[in-house]
Amino acid sequence: MIPEIGHFALIIALCLALVQTIVPLLGAQTNTSQWMAVAKPAARGQFLFIIIAFICLAYSFVKNDFSVFYVANNSNSALPLQYKISAIWGAHEGSLLLWSLMLSGWTFAVTIFSRSLPNDMVARVLAVMGFVSIGFLLFMLLTSNPFERIFPMPLEGKDLNPLLQDPGLVIHPPMLYMGYVGFSVAFAFAIAALLGGKLDSAWARWSRPWATFAWVFLTIGITLGSWWAYHELGWGGWWFWDPVENASFMPWLVGTALIHSLAVTEKRASFKSWTVLLAILAFSLSLLGTFLVRSGILVSVHAFATDPARGLYILIFLAIVIGGSLLLFALRAPYIKSIGHFDLFSRETALLLNNVLLLVVMFTILFGTLYPLFIDAFDMPSLSVGKPYFDLVFSVLMLPLLLVIGVGPFMRWKKATMKDVFKKLSKIAIVGLVIGIAFPYIVAGKTSILVAIGISLGGWSMAAAIYYLFKNTSRTDSGANILQHLKKIPRATYGMSIAHFGIGIFVVGVTFVSAFEQVKEIPMQVGQKIEMAGYMFELGGVEDIQGPNYSSKQATVNVYKNDRLVAKLLPEKRTYLVQKSPMTEAGIDTGFLRDVYVALGEEIDGNAWGMRLYYKPFIQWIWMGALLMAFGGLLAAFDRRYRLKLKREKQSAVPSSRKQRLAVTS
């Protein structure tokens, strides 16, 4: 009964999405306010019914209703409760439901926070989001219904993919989807503005916090994914350039370009058509990512069920949404006038450079990811793509970007004077260089040219970010004045500085890990000691333990430094009972300056164990930096001026919209 309610709720949600799309759009084109007013209640109703559907699926999981095909395939009565919940989005059908839930959730948020916007804008934005929702609800109902029953009912479920049974995976997909789907809001604003023919800086101001929020979620989602790969895959790596990882990274890159470009459009009324294009692109890449993951078109470690029928559906949907948007862009963009002019040496140029670099990175990743498809179609002579390709192009393209990150904020809008900027930044550059040369010696006792470059650039972005906050305090200021000054700085500025500081932290982490990490892969007998990177690893023993739905070999590894026990690690090799697949649980001692990481391999000749020992300097900095970026984004999105401006507009909204209406009727 409960699954049928869920199924029915999805159908009602689809009907509401249809209403939410068609009626307000017609209303906005014909300026009929009653029709436009339908958008909000329809969107809220849709959200409600998708919540109902979601709860029904959750209920089926918790109650072990294996008569539901999806539950039978992805759960098991022995599965712990938190994984029963995360199993809801553990496979194709459920993750689509999560997608739809997120989309209607964002739409709901737009209905709440759009009171100050003109009616036709709201109507169009909600209609566009409704249209996207139709696509996903139809997709679910036609090809991937999570509520489908199975007869006869299996006695036991096939269990959740053991790879996904990890605390990190409970929140990683929701965060990632919040980001993916969140770009639909900026997208909807862009399309609404193109449809309405009014692309002014108000448009940029409205979409900016939405785009930033989406970017924050995506940043957190990707960070969690990387963290999960590090813990769960047992290879000590934090990024694999897997197609699915790339699929989440590409919208992030464009999203980063978008939030920077929106700043120019809001403040300087420049880059208008470019920003619109980025808003379309960011969401398009989210959709493309969904297509790549769901269609099974590429070989990936995240193997999902592949089905050409589903792939074809998404592809057609993709062609309509993205193709339609880009066509609309081609028709309207020639009439968009960007008024702000700027010099070659100006903040606009710096931001343009940032945008171009980010897009180039995105296209090289897109090319690398889809390379198998291109080569297949053309019989091109092979050049090889893999981790080495991505690592190389990514690091080469990141270098100029890091330079610009430091310089950009110090340049004035429109026209910056080179002398002024150089005077301010020469000190920062020296600080960066000193950090880059001295820091590796202090922490690692050695260095190389590449390390010096990496750490200098990281130090440069961090120093520039901090200096930017103090740049207007003069030398004579007393301590109290500096505090007052810091209090006056808007949140958005703090946000930017923290995010740029985070990038510096990230770069330091990446540089140290890739240059100074140490690995030993060797067989160890119980009681044997191995020395690496100043640590002594001792295999204390290996014993059998029993988990709720797996059995496991658990090793005890004592880690000593200078004869003092610093960590007792318990790496495991689990065999999940239902799916019979072996899984590695690494034993990790996390520290601010280094991780010690041990993974248990195969038993060798009955008396030894293959062990992987890793020393990973500064690896936590990678995720710390990424989280700082997200935190900076969050601060920027909560900047007071959005709320102040919203209030001001609200006060003036009534007369101006009345004026408009008068103008239309007269």
Binding site: L233, W235, G237, F240, D242, S273, L277, I280, L281, S284, F291, S295, G296, I297, L298, V299, V301, P308, G311, L312, L315, L318, A319, I322, G323, L326, L327, F329, A330, A333, P334, L370, Y371, P372, L373, F374, I375, D376, A377, D379, P381, S382, L383, S384, V385, G386, K387, P388, V519, E521, I522, P523, P582, G601, E602, I604, G610, R612
Partner: protein, 176 residues
């Protein structure tokens, strides 16, 4: 006007590729090398000083697996290769691709070695000859040293049972 049309044009080109790709199994991408002799090459062996050349493939049905320690999917595939090697139906050769020799050797010690021998392709040049576009890839070579099948991506138990093993049997029954 034209420059604004560029994004939509590029996008539909991409859609074309995606559409074509949709109906191909990504692990069975046709290779121009299928039906042709193995490319000529000579590489050092991971195992020692002798040279590894295409002559190695003559006179028997064999497999060539492209792998690297940096490749996560190869790790996934590894137990399946070990299993296949245990059945002793056909020798498996390895092409150790863009790797570091010491790490690759250690890897084989730790996780077991399914390979009869490994050609060590440090800079990936021979990989280019073979049309490799990512590890892992597996080639099936007949008694005359002609490439008959190519699998892209990690082999699964399913692939081995339903494609690789029957094909090996078929090729072994062919006259040389």
């Amino acid at each position: 006007m034209l420059k604004y049309l560029l994004p939509v044009v590029l996008f539909f080109v991409l859609v074309g590729f995606l559409f074509v790709g949709l109906y191909k199994d990504p692990s069975e991408v046709s290779s121009p090398l299928i039906g042709k002799s193995t490319p000529q090459f000579s590489l050092p062996r991971l195992e020692g000083s002798r040279i590894f050349t295409q002559d190695e493939f003559q006179g028997k049905v064999s497999l060539l697996n492209v792998w690297a320690t940096w490749c996560y999917a190869c790790h996934q595939e590894h137990p399946i290769l070990l299993d296949l090697a245990d059945r002793k139906v056909a020798p498996i050769y390895g092409l150790n691709y863009k790797d570091i020799a010491a790490e690759a050797k250690q890897y084989l010690i730790n996780y077991g070695n399914p390979y009869i021998a490994n050609a060590f392709d440090e800079n990936g040049r021979v990989g280019i000859e073979w049309g490799v576009y990512g590890a892992p890839e597996t080639f099936l070579i007949d008694k005359n040293g002609i490439i008959r099948y190519k699998h892209i991506g990690p082999l699964t138990n399913d692939n081995v049972e339903n494609i690789i093993l029957p094909l090996i049997q078929q090729l072994q029954n062919e006259a040389s």
